[in-house]
């Protein structure tokens, strides 16, 4: 259905086999290992995974927002609307950010500058990317705030962030992200800190605006339910690797990877009250010394010897891949010995 038409229109973001590490005192944290993510134009893609699995790092690496000198890219490429962002210098990135790709972060409380009025923060961004006079910029800002269902945009623009509630601030941030009509919006857990009622509003606003303007969205969350309501396609990450991806409904209805399955089974809403939940035993691996083979194998109930020695590769049909030996899809590749 929609997915097909969207894909034909080309790629917004193509991350190919991105590997990245943070060198530290006690060794390198291998934050990303061979991560590939594709986002088509006008598509809404979700990334789910536990805290620390590398969701934010992936997108921040793609937009060059990671702290300079603190990380090392060990492989892969990122193409944003055909431009390679990994090779850009800071000033080129500055032109790309906000214009081609915008990011909405997790904590609305601190994501706005506390000493600058909302209006100025918005118009600064608009005037940076659009050839707009101050009055034009103000008009654009006002319109987009109104679009975010903010009651009195004029008044809000004169206010400081601390005078707004969390939900309002997050809407301002969304407005800011959309203000220069970027082709891609990265929403990094934009609702985690908010109430469910507010969350519903925010999700709706992002969805409506994206659909209307044909903007692609990467939606990062650890809440599978939220992602299921919003996204066309879904990537599941575990310990810096993509373990499974596919169309949202397919992945949720028929999860292939044991991790995805376990993740869905441990949610209380799927179990009768007071019943024991199917918890995943153990804890996420330490990325400085990851286990051999599949990173999930120490916690996996189905693990076999192969899982303990070799990392499975993503394999499967176009648009629906799983990285698990038990699903068999990757066996042939392993036998060819492409990767230990």
């Amino acid at each position: 259905m929609m997915t097909a038409t969207v894909q034909s229109r080309g790629q917004a973001l193509a991350i190919q086999n991105l590997s990245l590490e943070f060198p530290t005192f006690s060794g390198a944290i291998k934050a990303l290992d061979n991560v590939s993510i594709n986002v088509a134009k006008a598509e809404i893609v979700g990334i789910v995974g536990e805290s620390g699995c590398g969701k934010s790092v992936t997108t921040m690496a793609a937009t060059g927002l990671l702290p300079k000198g603190r990380y090392r890219i060990t492989g892969g490429s990122v193409r944003l609307f055909g431009h390679s962002t990994l090779t850009m210098d800071e000033s080129q990135l500055q032109d790309v950010r906000g214009k081609m790709v915008s990011t909405i972060f997790q904590e609305p409380m601190n994501a706005l500058n506390p000493t600058i009025r909302i209006g100025k923060q918005l118009t600064d961004v608009i005037m940076r990317h659009e050839e707009a006079s101050l009055s034009d910029a103000r008009r654009i800002a006002r319109d987009i705030l109104a679009d975010m269902l903010i009651g009195e945009p004029e008044r809000v623009m004169k206010q400081y962030p601390f005078e707004l509630s969390g939900g309002m601030r997050q809407r301002v941030l969304i407005a800011m992200a959309f203000s220069c009509n970027p082709g891609l919006i990265i929403a990094d857990e934009p609702t985690t800190a908010l109430d469910v009622t507010v969350q519903a509003v925010i999700l709706r606003l992002i969805q409506n605006r994206a659909r209307r303007t044909g903007t692609s969205v990467i939606f990062i969350s650890h809440n599978v339910a939220v992602v299921s309501q919003l996204c066309d396609r879904l990537y599941v990450m575990y310990a810096g690797r993509i373990v499974e991806h596919g169309a949202t409904r397919t992945v949720l209805d028929a999860p292939q990877h044991p991790y995805t399955q376990a993740l869905l089974r441990c949610l209380p809403e799927r179990v009768a009250p007071k019943q024991e939940l199917e918890a995943i035993t153990g804890a996420v691996p330490n990325l400085m010394q990851p286990p051999a083979g599949c990173y999930f194998q120490p916690r996996c109930k189905e693990a076999i010897d192969l899982c303990r020695s070799r990392s499975p590769q993503l394999a499967g049909a176009e648009g629906r891949e799983v990285a698990c030996w038990r699903r068999g899809v990757g066996l042939e590749i392993a036998e060819q010995g492409s990767r230990p």
Binding site: N113, P114, A177
Partner: protein, 337 residues
């Protein structure tokens, strides 16, 4: 509302401080082994003369009575009479204060102009060579014994190379301009006395720099620390993610917020400035409060010491009041609540 909430407690504090300081210095002055009367009359003075001098100073009265009289006079702005110069202390302070203020303002100005950019650069290029240099300079400043630094500079620039004067506020032959503000730099300009202005500028360079250097170190360190704090705030990430230019982010978004905690520091720095000024003035024979109070202490001129201490503490409290107000202006959160 918010303003009164800040001002009123400060003014109450001011009363406390003045009273406290008066009590402390008064107590000290009465613990002192030296006899002020002997100081005035000379140490060969006969007992009779001493007695007379004591009577004239009111030193023969009970301590509590002396204190009440002192406080009573204080409330009328009378700080007593200097034992050494026989002039009203308030008048002496009025004479010497502008010189100190002029030196202090120039030093503060230099310190801010050098310290803030250095701190910003240091934070932005953290751990790089610029940072190492800036940190070394700032630590040097903080660790510099002002009195020694002054001596070295005098030796180099005045004695060796003879390019800058080493003492006083004006060159020998130049008649001081009429006193309007007491700031030579301003008074000379107001009266079109460019010779005096030039000379005043020359004279303030060395002491101004010496005094500025230490404060520059403190400012650099503070700005660096708060810039580092601010630069890793979420809103900076937001600004970066929206593609704002680096310069804009640093100066319009980060520095502004980094300055807020630094304002408090500025208050402290002003306090330090006073301490530095005392030393700098002695080295450079700068005719200000520092020289005055050091001489007063050496001669145990207690009315002068008390007067100075009280004025300095009032100044300290007022500066802090200003700092709080500035803080309030800079931080909308405090301003509007």
């Amino acid at each position: 509302m918010a303003i009164t909430r800040i001002i009123i407690p400060r003014l109450v504090l001011l009363l406390f401080v003045v009273l406290g300081v008066a009590i402390i210095t008064f107590t000290i002055s009465h613990l002192i082994p030296g006899d002020p009367a002997r100081m005035i009359a000379g140490d060969r003075a006969s007992a009779e003369t001493l007695e007379n001098v004591r009577r004239n100073l009111g030193l023969d009265r009970p301590v509590v009575e002396q204190f009440t009289i002192y406080i009573g006079n204080l409330l009328q702005g009378d700080l007593g009479t200097s034992l050494r110069t026989n002039r009203p202390v308030a008048g002496d302070i009025r004479t010497f204060l502008p010189a100190t203020l002029e030196l202090g303002s120039v030093a503060l100005f230099i310190a801010i102009c050098l310290g803030v950019p250095l701190g910003v650069l240091s934070a932005v290029y953290k751990d790089g060579p610029i940072d190492q240099i800036a940190r070394t300079v700032s630590v040097c400043g903080i660790s510099m014994p002002v009195f020694w630094f002054g001596l070295i500079l005098i030796y180099l620039f005045y004695a060796k190379f003879q390019i800058l004067p080493g003492s006083g506020r004006l060159a020998m032959g130049i008649v001081a301009p009429e006193r309007i503000t007491g700031f030579l730099l301003i008074d000379s300009l107001l009266q079109g006395r460019f010779d005096a202005f030039r000379s005043a500028v020359y004279h303030i360079i060395l002491p101004g720099f010496v005094l500025a250097f230490a404060n520059m170190g403190v400012i650099t360190r503070q700005i660096r620390a708060s810039m580092l704090d601010v630069l890793q705030e979420d809103y900076i990430r937001t600004a970066r993610a929206s593609g704002l230019r680096k310069r804009m982010i640093i100066f319009n978004y980060a520095l502004r917020n980094a300055l807020i905690p630094s304002i408090t520091l500025l208050g402290l720095a002003l306090g330090d400035l006073l301490y530095g000024a005392v030393l700098t003035e002695t080295i450079f024979a700068w005719p200000g409060m520092g020289t005055y109070v050091v001489t007063s202490i050496q001669t145990l001129d207690f009315p002068a010491i008390m007067g100075f201490t009280i004025v300095a503490s009032i100044g300290y409290v007022l500066i802090n009041l200003l700092v709080d107000l500035a803080y309030m202006l800079a931080d909308p959160q405090i301003r509007e609540v």
